[in-house]
């Protein structure tokens, strides 16, 4: 440690009159952000290289002859920086005016409207009246292939998309074509982004409405969307995402930054896989009775009767869980099974892709072979994988079991109507009915992950939470609540009031989760080995 009391690893500077201490190697832009000053920027993105070409992040550094690009100027001891000096503001207003010379006034039909950085910056600091009298340059619209549409007229040429494809996807399918004011982003003629596995990210990082999603095109206005932190369920990577919802429907998924899991990114496969959360035809009411005897019942009578059957049970229990089900649902399922008798099988089935697909420039992020979010959680909770790589088969013994059969979250799509015919008690908990549930004594409607709170364990062994973004249909209830109530009754415990409580029970009873709480997991998750070494 140097004598002056300064740490060799940090620098202290003054930004807008306030002293800030940041790690050495921090850019002025990031340093300003630590004290709450957001310096406008387009080309800079924390996940990409910084070309310092948009020129809107220029700030005044005392002693420097010109304004400095804050994205690539590193903070130094004793620097005095003004982000809001007259010179910096005048320059920003000037740059914004240049952006508007050719930018169309099509905000009313632009998907980015409401979350557009050009809109925001111009609203904050732009000139009140434009001086442009010349007709605007027109490039028109270009289908880039895949899910991506390009509106060249709206483009601010920040080249984030080109750099993403070059540096992160390492699949240089985008380029700047031509130069000067004739420059646009383009693909190699007719061959575009189709088949690229991570190209959807270019839509996310586009600061304006130049790159938009075909899937989302004109579907919803940004300000009408609710954002719910969640976890992608399409593979066991568990990329952190947001569910963007409107009218109780998921409208799109957007990656949520987590440097331990997915950086700023997610894959196109996961991004596109959300329609199932909106799928109609849900189970909306508990039902009792096999085959033709099936009838809707209320939750109270369903659970009371089921409790009675299980309490008197003591038979051989076979449990089928699912890797799409939360830890909380699965642990409650285990509790019920254990309370009901001797568990002779505890299995789950899950589809596996032929290979995995890493994001080359961000190798932490891998589209995993396991195409379900909680394979590792299920494993930790004692579920064994069965069946084939399509998520089928492997249930021959369960199908003909003559004891108790509990199924949660597996739609039994490949099973026939004889499934569970000889079971002494067959309980089916799911979001959708299934022909193979014909023999179920009880069919209980449970929520999807999008409608409930819970946690998954991803392939890195990281516990991650998700939150409800949709209201459940009808009488569907979270599995942790349904099974938790049942288990509590069977064990003479108090019914859990929240997913957090179920998780606390899990943490108390399981070595793997010991010591963890929902609060500790937070929005960014916790690696299990960090807790247990």
């Amino acid at each position: 440690m140097p004598d002056n009391g300064r740490n060799a690893d940090t620098v202290t500077l003054t930004i807008d009159g306030r002293e800030v201490t940041v790690a050495r190697g921090t850019s002025l832009l990031d340093a300003a952000e630590t004290q709450g000053t957001k310096v406008p920027h387009y080309c800079y993105h924390p996940g990409l290289s910084a070309p310092a070409q948009c020129r809107i992040c220029l700030v005044e550094v005392e002693g420097a002859p010109k304004l400095q690009p804050s994205c690539v100027t590193m903070a130094q001891d004793g620097q005095v920086v003004h982000t809001d000096s007259p010179a910096a503001k005048r320059m920003r207003q000037g740059v914004l005016e240049f952006y508007l010379v050719n930018h169309p006034l099509d905000c009313p039909i632009c998907d980015m409207s409401g979350e557009c950085k050009l809109q925001d910056y111009v609203f904050d600091e732009g000139r009140e009246h434009g001086r442009g009298r010349e007709p605007k340059r027109v490039f028109g619209r270009d289908d880039f292939g895949g899910d991506v549409l390009y509106y060249g007229d709206r483009c601010v040429m920040c080249t984030r998309c080109v750099r993403f494809m070059d540096e992160v996807a390492r699949d240089s399918r985008l380029t700047v074509v031509e130069r000067g004011s004739r420059a646009v982003i383009d693909t190699f003629f007719d061959s575009g982004l189709e088949g690229a596995s991570f190209a959807g990210n270019v839509v996310d990082i586009c600061p304006v409405g130049a790159l938009v999603s075909k899937d989302f095109l004109h579907k919803a206005r940004a300000w009408d969307l609710d954002h719910t932190p969640s976890v992608c369920t399409s593979c066991s990577q568990g990329c952190n995402v947001e569910l963007h919802t409107r009218d109780n429907l998921v409208q799109r998924l957007k990656p949520r930054e987590n440097q331990e899991v997915n950086g700023h990114w997610m894959c196109d496969y996961g991004r596109a896989n959300y329609e199932w959360m909106n799928r109609p035809g849900r189970l909306e009411s508990p039902m009792a009775g096999r085959g033709a005897d099936r009838r809707a019942v209320d939750w109270k009578s369903a659970l009371e009767h089921l409790f009675a059957r299980l309490q008197s049970g003591g038979g051989d229990v076979m449990v089928v869980g699912a890797a799409e089900t939360s830890n909380e649902g699965l642990v409650a399922l285990c509790s019920v099974g254990d309370a009901a008798g001797t568990v002779s099988a505890r299995v789950f089935r899950s589809p596996r892709a032929e290979d995995e697909e890493p994001l080359p420039g961000y190798p932490l992020l891998v589209r995993r072979r396991d195409l379900a979010p909680n394979v590792d959680g299920a494993g930790l909770l004692g579920f064994e994988r069965t069946g084939d790589d399509d998520g089928g088969g492997g249930l021959e013994e369960v199908s003909g079991h003559d004891g108790i059969v509990l199924v949660l979250g597996d739609e039994l799509g490949d099973q026939d109507e004889d499934f569970g015919a000889s079971a002494s008690l067959f309980v089916y908990l799911g979001s959708f009915d299934s022909p193979a549930a014909r023999n179920a004594d009880y069919v209980l409607p449970v929520t999807t992950f999008a409608e409930e709170e819970g946690s998954f364990v991803n392939a890195q062994g990281r516990v991650q939470r998700f939150w409800p973004g949709l209201r459940p249909p009808g009488l569907a209830r979270p599995a942790w609540l349904v099974l938790g109530a049942l288990a509590a009754a069977l064990q003479g415990d108090r019914t859990p009031a929240s997913a957090a409580e179920v998780f606390a029970g899990l943490a108390a009873g399981s070595e793997a989760f010991a010591g963890l709480t929902y609060e500790a997991i937070g929005e960014s998750g916790v690696p299990l080995e960090a807790v247990h070494g």
């Binding site: 240089s172 130069r179 190699f188």
Partner: protein, 216 residues
């Protein structure tokens, strides 16, 4: 050499005082013919010719051209650095850089096709579509412009019967506007294929075109 009306060729001539030959001025006598295989590796990238006859279907790269390509590659620490010389070479053979050519060059150098397109479109000397046997580039930048370059350009368009950037119906001429060609003391400078014609006035244009036709 056909007698020509315009003062030139090669530089500085409107005083009429000099007794150097055209070959002296251009250095053509000293230079001689440049070998197709590029000669010494240090100068292999110094071609290309801008040829009168183009073959859009010529293979990339065979025989002496393959040799030249290999020599070029040997002079740079990265394959990427050979991109401009390789595109130059492709244009020498084919006359323009088509999407298929970009694709082939990308393959040869291990680059993405989109990247090559980005680079090729950055540089104005790459013809993105076929041009005439003679590509006539008239400098209209300030020094030439002060001395009547606009009229020279207009004369070329008139006497070739073309629109700017279009190729004459006989396929002989494409006339385009060029930025400063670094021959400002000898206005108007016109680059025709590989050659500079200097001190060209609008009145000289018919003679220049006649001379070009006589070379076909």
């Amino acid at each position: 050499m056909t007698e020509i009306q315009f003062r030139n060729p090669g530089w500085a001539g409107n005083t009429g005082e000099f007794d150097l030959t055209e070959a002296d001025v251009r250095g053509t006598e000293y230079v001689g013919e440049s070998p197709l295989d590029g000669g010494h590796p240090s100068v292999s990238a110094s071609l290309p010719y801008m040829l009168v006859e183009k073959n859009p279907d010529a293979p990339l790269f065979e025989g002496p051209y393959q040799e030249r390509f290999e020599k070029i590659r040997s002079r740079y620490p990265t394959a990427r650095a050979a991109l401009l010389p390789a595109l130059n070479l492709a244009q020498e053979l084919r006359g323009h850089i088509s999407p298929a050519t970009m694709d082939e060059v990308a393959e040869l150098l291990g680059l993405s096709s989109a990247y090559v397109r980005g680079v090729a479109t950055f540089y104005t000397m790459y013809n993105k579509r076929p041009v005439g046997r003679f590509l006539i580039q008239v400098c209209t930048n300030i020094s030439c412009n002060l001395c009547g370059a606009d009229e020279v350009l207009a004369a070329f368009l008139e006497h070739t019967g073309t629109e700017l950037g279009e190729t004459s119906s006989d396929g002989d001429f494409t006339v385009i506007e060029a930025e400063c060609l670094a021959a400002c003391g000898f206005p108007t400078c016109v680059q025709i294929n590989s050659r500079y014609f200097e001190d060209v006035s609008a009145a000289d244009v018919p003679a220049v075109l006649e001379r070009l036709k006589s070379e076909l």
